[in-house]
Symmetry: C2
Subunit: 510 residues, 2 copies
């Protein structure tokens, strides 16, 4: 759809100033709720437009006004993007320090949605799309997939499409690390390795990143976009140690371009505490910049290696943890009163690193332990090919960073777990007595109760069922079978069990 | 051997007073080092001799003197027991408030040992017998075995004999608990259930207990004797809520009778924090009583349920933990600078209790995780028969409490682990990089290095070997096989590994 013309805009603005609550002209363009409205203006291309030109816009719907920043896309093109969150007639006006960009007006009609909308926090500990549809994050991790060859990026999307995963942890900046030694073809700044101009973002880089965000959006996958990370080569790149002014300019440019993507979550940093050139206050400032410059209020978190950032700050929407034991899961929930995502629980694989070589069964077990306590978990996979050389200086294709194919056993087991989660899980009020247990709190009494016994293997167990009569089923978390247990159950129900580890049970209210 | 006669004693005392360093008379009795010297005197049997008669003895060897208490064994018999810890001519004198018990003297010759002696702390974090032989505790648990029918007790000893276990956690008092509802035949006090006289210990009870301690000693098994515990029925017994004077009298009687057994460790209480009629200061006092009245200075610990007793107190010789995750193992060692025994890490079994139904593989894994970090672990087993009724009010025979037979898979796996431990394990200085690792520090450089990968399954791993050349072997912790890895290894050695969980490796210096 072509951008609105200047003449149309002036006409609409004139109409708007008289009857801003009136229905919009019939011939104006329309954008479905939660899709992207974009409009473009011609402006100066000399000097450094990124640094010298200011451009903002105010969008109004009735008495409501939303202000946001536009951005320079190179070649004299200035764009404003907006994701409308309500249906109706939206009007806008631009503000700029450049007369030819200042005072533009326009309008569009926001029509009914074709999607469930962006994801936000719901019911304190959980997530839902803006239309109320619950969202249960089953994330995976491809940190540097947008920096790999195009063919591999396409393969990654194809793999994701057939996977159970609906959230992807991914970095903006390229990754310098063991098994990550290739140079990307696009960089977020103008220039070449060793000679970047941090005052000039590279529009081609962002156009490509947007294409990837749109690709994920088409697959109904949330992009948990990592804005800073420590895996940098100062000699080649230096993106982990830019001066504060460059950090802030980078963030504002990115926010102006990308926040219109409804499938975005902001992950302020990965392993923030390993970014030794930054202080804690820098990350606070990044959160505040995002609060100020993301008019769409996407989810905001920050991921740690050792010390956990204070997730009780009001600007953190949910916890994004790197923790591999789960006995404190309830404490985290109770401390922060927010959703808790165990975003790094080590990866299924065979790497020579303890974080990258747990078995598929163990990763599956960890997913169950997170979910059953009313939290969420994120997958990652780190398999070297069997004939790999014993050398970290190579760059094989490993899902966790490069994308490509999945080789492990856990995705299928995670898909089985995902198929069981139809409403948010609430941990048992008595985790000692009940082993790992969660209630489906759709109704009162709960409609479903899920048990996971971990390596506990009772011969019999007394299940203290809430009010109501329930049917019971034995779940095999690795064979993915659901086997009815004869009879119906109510009250304190003693049930004979198979004596084997990882038994799971589901009770459903009749 | 008959007790020394009064005439002989007087003769010896007379000789001693003249030449206490002189060689002992040839016809005097002898006792090997770390065996029991016992002597008996006739005394009053009227009134309450337990409460009214004091009897102590002082044993001297050269310039050294050891004081201890005697005890009343009923029927007018007063006994003094002593475990000599040094060879040579020992002399003794008695003190009593009863003239006929006062001023007895005697002597015995302590001859070379026939055993390795009692166990004490060695090298800060480990244990050794008094003759320097390392002792690696591989404990198990039969809390109430001495309160079961005689036939079952004999069966328990027969099972222990063919097991890998060399330490037994066991209670003095009977146990009232789920699956523990039978009345013992002997009680530690005179009287009958509901009507015990706490001022009168029951000598028959102690004679029987001594027989059991001797039975364990013959099998080279240390008795980790639990002096107080909360599993009591106040209506029948009340042993968990006696008044302080009764607690102290009980302890002093027990110490006078039993501390001569070289295979004793004092466990002041099991789950002390669940003994709601006692305060923390009561347990401090018990420790002090033991310090004062155990002349043989056996090991002293106390076991918790929730809060851990302050193991940094100088009167605690080692930590006895109930903890089921092991990532703090090194912190415990570093905090207390004492041996750390994970004495309750849940039990292999099929009970309807989370503490009593972990799989044999999981318990084996926990043993490896404890040992590999330079700590120790204790086994327990809680299997109900497959045709058990769904009822906790029964008293089946369950190893953890009653003894009997072992049914699980972990004892064989523990035996394999035990066969590998020939010297104390010291955790790796770099547990992050090295995964779970321990060095055998017999020499410098170490003679052996043991690795346990837990659920980590690297395709290859770089082992940073200390100085020297090593051979490597792959250990299968469940199949109990030791498979040589071709070649020799030194320095930073990259080795291709089988990609499977629970891999273990042993390096041996050539």
């Amino acid at each position: 759809m072509p951008p609105i013309t200047r003449r149309e805009a002036l006409k609409l603005a004139s109409a708007a100033s008289l009857t801003s609550l009136a229905p919009i002209a019939k011939n104006v363009r329309s954008t479905p709720r939660w899709e992207i409205f974009e409009t473009t203006f011609e402006g100066p291309s000399t000097g450094n437009p990124f640094a010298e030109v200011t451009l903002t816009a105010t969008f109004t719907l009735g008495h409501r006004a939303v202000s946001l920043e536009g951005f320079y896309d190179g070649a004299g093109q200035y764009r404003i993007r907006f994701m409308p969150d309500a249906e109706g007639s939206w009007y806008f006006t631009t503000q700029s320090n450049i007369p030819t960009l200042n005072g533009h007006t326009g309008a569009f009609l926001c029509t009914p949605p074709t999607s469930h909308g962006p994801v936000g926090v719901a019911d304190t500990y959980h997530f839902a799309h803006a239309d109320g549809t619950p969202f249960f994050p089953f994330g995976t991790t491809c940190y540097a997939w947008v920096h790999q060859p195009e063919k591999l990026q396409a393969e990654t999307l194809a793999t994701l499409k057939k996977s159970p995963f609906n959230k992807l942890r991914m970095c903006v900046f390229p990754k310098h690390y063991e098994y990550n030694h290739n140079e990307p073809t696009l960089f977020p700044f103008a220039g070449t390795p060793g000679h970047f101009d941090l005052t000039r973002p590279n529009p081609a880089f962002y156009a490509h990143l947007e294409q990837r965000l749109a690709g994920l959006r088409a697959l109904h996958i949330e992009a948990d976009l990592i804005l800073f990370h420590p895996y940098d080569d100062p000699a080649r790149w230096g993106f982990a140690s830019m001066p504060p002014a460059a950090d802030d300019a980078y963030l504002r440019y990115l926010l102006a371009r990308l926040s219109c993507y409804r499938n975005l979550w902001w992950s302020v940093a990965n392993e923030w505490d390993l970014m030794h050139s930054k202080k804690l206050a820098d990350f606070d400032r990044f959160f505040h910049l995002i609060e100020q410059h993301d008019p769409h209020a996407h989810l905001r978190s920050i991921h740690h290696s050792g010390p956990i950032y204070d997730n009780s700050h009001p600007w953190v929407t949910h916890a994004s943890l790197q923790v591999i034991t789960f006995e404190k899961a309830l404490e985290y929930r109770n401390a922060w009163h927010k959703p808790v995502c165990f975003d790094e629980i080590q990866y299924e694989g065979n790497l020579n690193k303890r974080w990258g070589n747990v078995s598929g069964d163990e990763l599956t077990r960890r997913f169950w332990l997170c979910l059953i306590q009313g939290c969420y978990a994120t997958h990652g996979e780190t398999f070297l090919p069997e004939d790999a050389t014993l050398d970290e200086a190579t760059t094989p294709t490993i899902w966790w960073s490069h994308g490509g194919d999945l080789h492990g056993t856990s995705p299928a087991h995670i898909a089985f777990l995902q198929s069981l989660i139809q409403s948010p899980l609430t941990p048992s009020p008595d985790p000692y007595y009940l082993n790992a247990t969660a209630f489906d709190t759709t109704g009162k009494p709960p409609r479903q109760i899920l048990y996971f016994m971990d390596f506990h293997q009772p011969l019999w167990y007394e299940f203290p069922l809430p009010e109501g009569t329930y049917k019971a089923e034995a779940l095999d978390i690795f064979a993915h079978t659901i086997t009815p247990i004869p009879g119906t159950h109510s009250g304190k129900s003693r049930i004979r069990m198979p004596v084997k580890p990882y038994a799971a049970l589901r009770f459903t209210r009749l």
